[in-house]
């Protein structure tokens, strides 16, 4: 059978897994696709590769298509979100110096309380602003940190550092702390550069992290092809959601052409057992990263609306217009059309109140099997996209 080649870009991170699995486990071939997976050295390069047609689709930081829809950061074309590729997966880490000071004031690195974390960080802060490394100006990482520290009595600045360089930046005291996707937080622990302080999910229990993005004009001309790609990636996500596939997944991702990081480190987040410090302290965390369960792949308009509202506040843009633009990049229409036949359960609504769930909750869906996991914010606030 002749396979249709499709060029897909990614950045070496654990959460590119659905693309690697779609390729390696034959889900792409089942749809008649030959994925040509291209590793990008940076998010800006990947964005440009997508905008200028060097790749057809790409793994993308969820806030990037939203920022572009809002006209931020050199927007030259509209990007659409076909589906969410991963929920959570970020970790906040601190330098050894900061970790020591936190221990001195009695912190036990419980790795679960973000409100406490913000208060403690303010207590050990230095005379100058705390420098916090994030991978990109428009990223779930940056928005999580801003939301987390917005009321903290703490002066800080965000510095953009590529994920594979994060451990070195911490060692060189270029940054005092970071928020980065796995395995690069675990790599920092392994190199003795610092300690993990919080999982991203302690700030927002269900934060959309990476999305599958395409150019709006591309998907307008390639509807059927987009559908084949979506089904392949969705089936890969389902495969990743099964615990028995964990070891195989980390072995695949460890390869040089994907993350080129030790399989043992990649496995920590998949297993939900994080080694948080060079002394080997272990913390069990459910949902460090989630690929499939709880409608993880559905591009909820309310999730992107949250990023739209955050960006509007930060850049002084009109709130209602920003939220409307953010919602429009979520192609829930394509998701419903193309994934229904693959067996995806589809929610009755395409948006929800973010932050309202503290326990797993059943919601209305076509097959009646949809249970959404907790999505609470650390401060107990809720986000209603109609009343931001």
């Amino acid at each position: 059978m002749n396979l249709r080649p499709l060029r897909i870009g990614f950045v070496p991170l654990l959460d590119m897994a659905p693309l690697a699995v779609a390729h390696e486990m034959g889900f792409a071939a089942d749809e008649g696709l030959a994925l040509d997976l291209r590793c990008a050295p940076s998010w800006s390069s990947l964005r440009d590769m997508l905008l200028w047609g060097q790749v057809d689709a790409a793994q993308m930081l969820a806030p990037v298509p939203v920022a572009m829809a809002l006209g931020l950061g050199g927007a030259v074309a509209r990007l659409d979100i076909l589906q969410v590729m991963s929920i959570n997966g970020d970790v906040v880490g601190v330098s050894t110096a900061l970790a020591d000071r936190l221990r001195d004031i009695g912190h036990d690195f419980g790795f679960d309380d973000a409100a406490l974390g913000a208060r403690l960080l303010a207590r050990v802060a230095m005379a100058r602003p705390l420098r916090i490394g994030v991978p990109f100006p428009f990223s779930t990482h940056a928005e999580l940190v801003r939301y987390w520290l917005r009321d903290a009595a703490l002066d800080y600045e965000l510095c953009t550092i590529p994920p594979p360089r994060m451990a070195d930046a911490l060692l060189a005291a270029e940054v005092d702390a970071f928020c980065v996707g796995e395995p690069w937080g675990s790599v920092a622990v392994e190199q003795g550069a610092g300690a993990l302080f919080l999982p991203g999910r302690a700030i927002w229990a269900a934060a959309p992290e990476k999305v599958l993005a395409v150019r709006h004009d591309w998907v307008s001309n390639h509807d059927a092809l987009a559908g084949r790609l979506m089904r392949a990636v969705w089936r890969a996500a389902r495969w990743l959601g099964l615990q028995e596939n964990r070891i195989t997944a980390s072995e695949i991702l460890a390869r040089p052409e994907y993350t080129n990081a030790p399989a043992e480190l990649l496995d920590r987040a998949l297993r939900g057992e994080m080694v948080i410090s060079p002394r080997g302290e272990l913390r069990r965390v459910p949902d460090v990263i989630r690929f499939f369960d709880g409608a993880a792949t559905f591009p909820w308009r309310s999730q992107m609306a949250w990023f739209g509202a955050q960006l509007a506040r930060h850049h002084g843009l009109d709130m209602a217009a920003s939220i409307a633009s953010a919602k429009a990049v979520c192609r829930t229409d394509l998701y419903r059309t193309h994934l229904r036949s693959a067996g995806a359960d589809l929610p009755g609504a395409s948006e929800k109140i973010e932050g309202s769930l503290h326990h797993p909750t059943a919601v209305a869906s076509e097959r009646g099997t949809m249970i959404l996991p907790p999505n609470a914010f650390f401060d107990g606030q809720i986000f209603d996209p109609d009343r931001p």
């Binding site: 940076s42 200028w52 950061g73 510095c159 360089r165 270029e174």
Partner: protein, 191 residues
């Protein structure tokens, strides 16, 4: 008016070649080789144009500049915003990206970009050639080892050993180097 151009490039030889191509235009060119503290050093220099290899991961750090919003900051754009699509396409294919301060005359930017694109095209060609040469060298080594294994195992001469490798490769529709690689691996497993 002279433009202040910063080139972010850790490789000294390459950096010098970029300077050589831009200096005739009469601009001041500074090279930053270290990526540590890149954002702060760029703020100090306040360049009109920053050029960086697209494969340099620290490019993301420069994206911050495009968002600078303080009263003393000069607005910066990733240059695709302001110049022709054609020039942008060429730059991306050549593997160079540029950040340009707002308000520069488009033809002055274009002149700098033309020179930079030509230089980065050359780098890309050199990199490809280097890769090809390296691969050829590795393949030759592999084939030599495979020949050695065959000569010893079957008591044949060097020419016959190579002929055998070549025939096998042709029969199986594979490259000689691939057959040699398989043989070397198998011999390693059996010994």
């Amino acid at each position: 008016m002279k433009l202040q151009i910063v080139v972010v490039e850790p490789d000294e030889a390459r950096a010098r070649l970029v300077i050589d191509s831009l200096s005739p235009l009469g601009h001041d060119v500074t090279v930053l080789g270290e990526v540590t503290g890149l954002a702060r050093r760029l703020r100090d220099i306040a360049p009109d144009i920053v050029l960086i290899d697209m494969t340099n991961p620290s490019r993301d750090t420069l994206e911050e500049m495009a968002l600078a919003s303080g009263p003393l900051d000069r607005p910066v754009a990733f240059f695709v915003d302001r110049t022709s699509r054609d020039l942008t396409q060429q730059a991306i294919e050549a593997g160079v990206s540029a950040y340009v301060v707002d308000g520069l005359q488009p033809d002055r930017v274009a002149a700098v970009m033309d020179a930079a694109i030509a230089r980065f095209r050359m780098f890309r060609r050199m990199r490809t050639e280097l890769d090809t040469t390296r691969r050829a060298l590795e393949e030759r080594k592999l084939i030599d080892r495979a020949k050695g294994i065959l000569m010893k195992a079957r008591g044949i001469g060097e020419d016959d050993a190579y002929a055998l490798l070549r025939k096998t490769a042709m029969d199986q529709g594979r490259k000689v180097a691939d057959v040699a690689g398989a043989l070397v691996t198998a011999a390693g497993l059996l010994s």
